[in-house]
Symmetry: C2
Subunit: 191 residues, 2 copies
């Protein structure tokens, strides 16, 4: 079914054009017109793929999520020891290279745009961290009497706070500092 | 010098109108025209106080900082024991009531708007946390061999991550959960 593949590919290409426009001009520049121009499509052609701006935005947001998820799957499938794997998983949620920085900057713009729409803004990170902590706890790798609910909120806030700070100031915290902070934190959780 | 007082008061009133417009319509609605309307001033009168939109934005941002600082000063001057005072100081940086929620929501909009302008976005919170940790460490209240630099980044990220999450979803983390997370974190730092 080559036509369907093309259709999906074209949609992804439009989503990537959307990210580019957002990175260059912020949400206020991310009009259907500007996105069509960036994607080198006519307005009519773009409307063929996405009938509304909201629909396009949601598709573009989802694609950011999928990219992050793919990076995480690679780490989960690796044969790192549990503590290192956990730290490495958390590092996938931080803007440590150009690709992930762009992802997270776009995400922050979307967050601002969709403020108040809790369901749409759920990036699945809290759940991912909670699942990981539960898994480690089940395997008796974490300290006794750990409160998974509190530790999930704490680690989730820590990770997003680091990401936010690095997006606000591209020089700090450095990758090395973010790694040290995560390592320190994870060490206080592990036995 | 009643004239100067009036001038400053009027500027503050305009800054407050700016917040209101941002809260209602986001940065894209925060035009000089809309702000003048909200402040019930003519465009000419508004221009008398702020010649450019940037100048107005910066004044409004600064006023948010000052409001937070005033809340912190009250806590510092209180006679709470050190650990409770420290937790209470950190809680001033979280959107736990309507006033602080509005402050932080406005701040997040400004952050997005001024992304890339590191100096402008420095809210002084990192420095405040670092100073507090140094003070506590000097008074031998923190665990031995604590790394102030790492702990500053860690706590700064934790606080801003909690604030970001609560602004993204006004139902969670709850005040009670944020209090528990901070208490847990601070307890791991204290002797």
């Amino acid at each position: 079914m080559p036509k369907i593949v093309d259709h999906e590919k074209r949609k992804e290409m439009i989503a990537e054009a959307t990210w580019q426009v957002i990175l260059k001009q912020g949400m206020k520049g991310a009009t259907v017109r500007n996105i069509a121009k960036e994607a080198q499509l006519s307005l009519g052609a773009l409307r063929h793929y996405f009938s509304t701006q909201e629909e396009l935005y949601m598709f573009a947001m989802n694609l950011v999520k999928e990219r992050v998820l793919k990076r995480i799957e690679k780490i989960v499938a690796s044969d790192l020891p549990p503590k290192e794997k956990f730290i490495s998983f958390l590092e996938q949620l931080l803007p440590m290279d150009e690709e992930s920085r762009a992802d997270m900057e776009v995400w922050l713009h979307f967050t601002n745009y969709f403020l108040g729409n809790e369901e749409l803004l759920d990036d699945g990170i809290r759940e991912g961290i909670e699942n990981a902590l539960c898994f480690l706890d089940c395997h008796q790798l974490l300290k006794d009497n750990i409160d998974i609910e509190i530790e999930t909120e704490r680690l989730y806030a820590l990770v997003d706070g680091l990401a936010l700070h690095r997006i606000m100031d591209k020089n700090r915290p450095t990758n090395e500092m973010m790694h040290q902070v995560l390592t320190k934190h994870v060490e206080t959780l592990f036995k």
